[in-house]
C-alpha cells in the first residue's frame, strides 16, 4: 500500500515540478543570452491564466480536438507514474516497463497530430506532417537505447534496470551506456520540441513543428497541452537521469532515502536543464531536411549501444 502511495506522491511531485522545469530552462536561456528573462515560476502564472480563460473551438473541429488535451495530459501523467523519479521500488507499479512508456508517449503524440489535422487549418496539417516525420525517426531510438540497458539488466522493467546499474556500477561506465545516453539525449531534444530540431520560442508559424499543431488551442485546453508537454520533457529528462545515473534514487521508503532521492532528482534535472539551456544558446535550428540526419545519428548511436552491450558481455 505504501508503495502505491509513494508512487502516487512522486507522480504528483513530477506534475507539480514540470512547469517549473520549463520556466527554469527559459530563465536560464534568457540569462545566457544576456537578457533578464521572466522568473522560473512564470509558467505557473501562465497556466493559471489559461485555466481562467474560455476555450475557443473551431466549428469544424470534431471530438478529437477536445479529447486530445486530456489524452496528452493523461498519458504524460501515466508515464510519469511509470518511470523511476524519486523512488524506484522493487517490482512494478501497474505496467511499469519500457514498452509501455514508449507507446504511451506515442499515443499522446498521435492524438496531437490528429488534432492538428482536425481543424483543417493549414498550419496544423503542416505541423502534424512534420511531427510524424520526426516521431517516426525518434521512437525506434528511444526503444533501442533503453533496450541497450535492458540487455544488461536482463529485464525491461525500469526498477530492474535501475537496481542493476546501482549494483554493478562498472557496467554503467561502459561504452554501451554512454552511447545510449547520447542517443536518448538527442531524442529528448527532438521529442520535446527543443533546438536544434524545433524552436520552442518562435512566433513564425511556417517554421513550427510542435507549436504548429497546437496553434488552434486556447484557454484550458491549451493549458492542459502546455502542462502535458512540460511533463513529457520532465519524463524524458528523468529517464535520461535515472536510467543512466541512478545514484541517489531511493530504493526504500525510509524518510532519509526519500529525501536524498528528491534532492538528487532535482539536482539531476537541474544539471540536464543547464545542459539544454547551454545547448540551445549555442546552436541554431537545423534546416528541416537536416533533422532526419541528426536523428539517424542518434539511431546509429543507439544501435551501437546495443551492439557494444553484446560485445562487452
Amino acid at each position: 500500500m505504501t508503495r502505491y502511495v509513494a508512487v502516487l506522491l512522486q507522480t504528483l511531485v513530477a506534475v507539480a515540478l514540470a512547469p517549473g522545469l520549463v520556466g527554469f530552462i527559459r530563465w536560464l536561456k534568457a540569462r545566457l543570452q544576456g537578457r533578464r528573462g521572466a522568473a522560473p515560476w512564470q509558467p505557473y502564472f501562465e497556466l493559471r491564466k489559461l485555466f481562467g480563460k474560455e476555450a475557443v473551438v473551431s466549428h469544424t473541429a470534431s471530438w478529437i480536438f477536445t479529447a486530445t488535451p486530456f489524452v496528452l495530459f493523461g498519458t504524460s501523467v501515466l508515464v510519469a507514474s511509470v518511470v523511476p523519479l524519486i523512488v524506484a521500488p522493487a517490482g512494478r507499479f501497474l505496467i511499469g516497463d519500457l514498452f509501455a512508456t514508449v507507446y504511451l508517449l506515442l499515443l499522446g503524440t498521435f492524438f496531437l497530430a490528429l488534432a492538428g489535422l482536425d481543424t483543417g487549418s493549414p498550419f496544423g496539417g503542416m505541423g502534424a506532417s512534420r511531427e510524424m516525420t520526426v516521431v517516426a525517426l525518434t521512437e525506434p531510438t528511444v526503444a533501442l537505447s533503453i533496450v541497450a540497458l535492458a540487455l544488461n539488466a536482463g529485464s525491461t522493467s525500469f526498477s530492474e534496470i535501475v537496481s542493476r546499474t546501482l549494483v554493478q556500477p562498472s557496467a554503467a561506465l561502459g561504452p554501451g551506456h554512454l552511447l545510449a545516453f547520447a542517443a536518448l539525449f538527442i531524442v529528448t531534444l527532438a521529442e520535446t520540441g527543443r533546438l536544434p530540431v524545433d524552436n520552442p520560442s518562435t512566433h513564425l508559424e511556417l517554421t513550427m513543428i510542435h507549436e504548429a499543431m497546437i496553434l488552434e488551442y486556447s484557454g484550458p485546453y491549451l493549458g492542459l497541452i502546455e502542462w502535458g508537454a512540460a511533463l513529457k520533457l520532465l519524463v524524458f529528462l528523468a529517464l535520461a537521469a535515472n536510467l543512466f545515473m541512478p545514484w541517489g534514487i531511493a530504493l526504500s521508503l525510509s524518510p532519509a532515502a526519500v529525501a536524498i532521492g528528491l534532492l538528487s532528482f532535482v539536482a539531476k534535472l537541474g544539471a540536464l536543464s543547464v545542459a539544454i539551456a547551454v545547448l540551445e544558446t549555442r546552436v541554431a535550428k537545423l534546416r528541416l531536411f537536416r533533422v532526419p540526419e541528426l536523428l539517424s545519428v542518434s539511431f546509429v548511436l543507439a544501435l551501437l549501444a546495443v551492439m557494444s552491450t553484446f560485445l562487452v558481455r
Binding site: 543570452q33 544576456g34 493549414p122 512566433h203 508559424e205 540551445e280 546552436v283 541554431a284 528541416l288
Partner: protein, 525 residues
Amino acid sequence: MTKTFDAFRRALTEGRVPVSDLVLPRPNEAHCRVTAADLKDLSDRACRDLGAELVFMGADDRRAEAGAFFVHYLFAQRTQNWFLHASARVDASRPEVPSLAAFHYPASRFEREIRDLFGIHVTGHPDPRPLVKHAFWPEDYFPLRKDAASPGFADDGRPFPFTEVGGEGVYEIPVGPVHAGVIEPGHFRFSVMGETIIDMKSRLYFTHKGTEKLFEGRDPADGVELAERVSGDTSVGHALAYCQAVEAAARVDPPPRAAYLRVMLLELERLYNHVADVGAIANDTGFGVAHAHCYRIREQLLRVNKELTGSRLLRGVLCPGGLARDLEVPRDHAARVAAAVADFDEIVEICLANTLVLDRLEGTGVLKPELARDHGVLGYVARASGIDLDARRDHPFAAYGQLTFAVPVYENGDVMDRLRVRADEVHEAADLIEQACGHLPSGPVRTNVGRIDAFAPAFGIVEGWRGRIIHWLMTRDDGRLHRVKIVDPSFFNWPALSLALVGNIVPDFPLCNKSFNQSYSGNDL
C-alpha cells in the same frame, strides 16, 4: 555632366527627339513633355541607347486646371548621373496611356498602380490584374482623383485571381493577412509540393492609408511630419527625400552644415536598422543570443539618436531648406557609434563562426543576378545579387559627394550575402558618421525656401537604408502641394521575394522574408 548627356540634351533642344516644352532646371536634368504616341520612342532612346532606367512613374489629376491627367516618367542614368523627366498629357475624356511594361518590369507595377488609383487605362498591358485595388473597392472609385469621395465599401466576395498550381501532391498554404507578431498585413499564398515551394504570390495593399493624398493642400513646409511617417523605420530617408524634392522645386540648396548633418542622420538610421536586421535574421535561424545582443546594440544606438536629436527615431529635425534647428554634436558621438559597431562586429563574428547558422544562411533564398536586374530591385537586395548601385554614390546628395565610402557588392544573392551587405554597410555608415563629425562645417543650417513654380515637377532621391527612395512633388498656383508621389524601394523589391523563394522549403520562408525585410507601409501608401 558627360558628353552623352550633352549630346542627348542637344538632341532634345534641337527637336531631334520628339519632345516639347523642354526645361533644364539643373545641369544634369532635363524636363519635357511627350505625347502618348512618342512615349515608347523616347523610352527606347533613353533606356536602350543611353543606358538610363525608368525609376519612377506617377500621375496627377489636373482636370480642374488643364482638363487632363498627366503621367510622369523619370529616367535616371546611374553611371553618368543624369535625369530625364517626361510628362504625358492624358485627356480627361479618354484617360489612356500606352504601356511600357513589356520593356521594363517596374513600369508594369507603376502602371497598375496608376490605373487603380487614377482610373487611367493602360493599353497593351501584359498583366492587367489589379495591384492596389482590393475586390471590395467599387469599380469607379479612384482614390487619388481630386474629386474622389469615400464610397461605401462592401466585400463582394470575389477572390483575388491567384495563379493556381496543379498536379499530384501539390497544395496551397494561405498565410496572413493577419500574422503572429507585430507585422503589417500581407497575404502570402504558397503553392507547395511536400515542403518545397513551387510558387509564392504575395497580396499586399490591405491598408491603403491615403498618405499621398494627405499631402495635398498642405504647405510644402508642413509635409515633413507626414513624410517621416511614411514608413516608421525610415523617418530620415523619406523626410530627406521629401525635403530634397521641395528644395529642387524651389531651386535652393541647403547650407553645408545642414548637408553634413543630414549625412549623419541618414547613416544613424541605416545603422540601427541594419543592426536590428542582422539580429532578426539570426533569430529566424533560432540563434536567439545574437538577436538579444543586436537588440541591445540597437537600443544603444537609439539612445545616441535621442541624445543628438531628442528623438529616438530621428524625427523632427529635417525641414525643407536644411534642418529645423542646429544640432549640437556631442564630442564623443563618433566614438560611441564606433563602440557600438565594434560590439556588433563581435556578434557577427560569433554568428558566422557557427556552422549551424551558416548552413541556414548559405544558399537560402537565392535571387539570381539576372532576375534581380530584370526586376529592377534596389538596396541591399540588389547589392547582394551583384548589382552595384547606390544612390549616395550614383546621384550624390547632401554631403555624400565630399565623403568617401565603399559600396559593398556580393554575387550569390542568398540570405548570407544580404546579411553580409548589411554588416559591411554598418561599417561604412560608422565611417561616414566619423567623417561627417570630423569635417562638420560651422554656419547656418537653414536656407529660406522661396517661391515654388506652380505645376513644375521636382523630385528628391535618397539612398535610405532599404534602398533608393524617391519623392516627387508638384505645387499649385497658391504654393500649396498639388500632388506628392512616394516610391519606397519596397515597391520594387516585393516581387523579387517570390522569385527568391522558388525551390526553397516552407520553413525557410521567414528567413528569406527577413533578409529582404520590406516595408508594407512604404509600399501601400
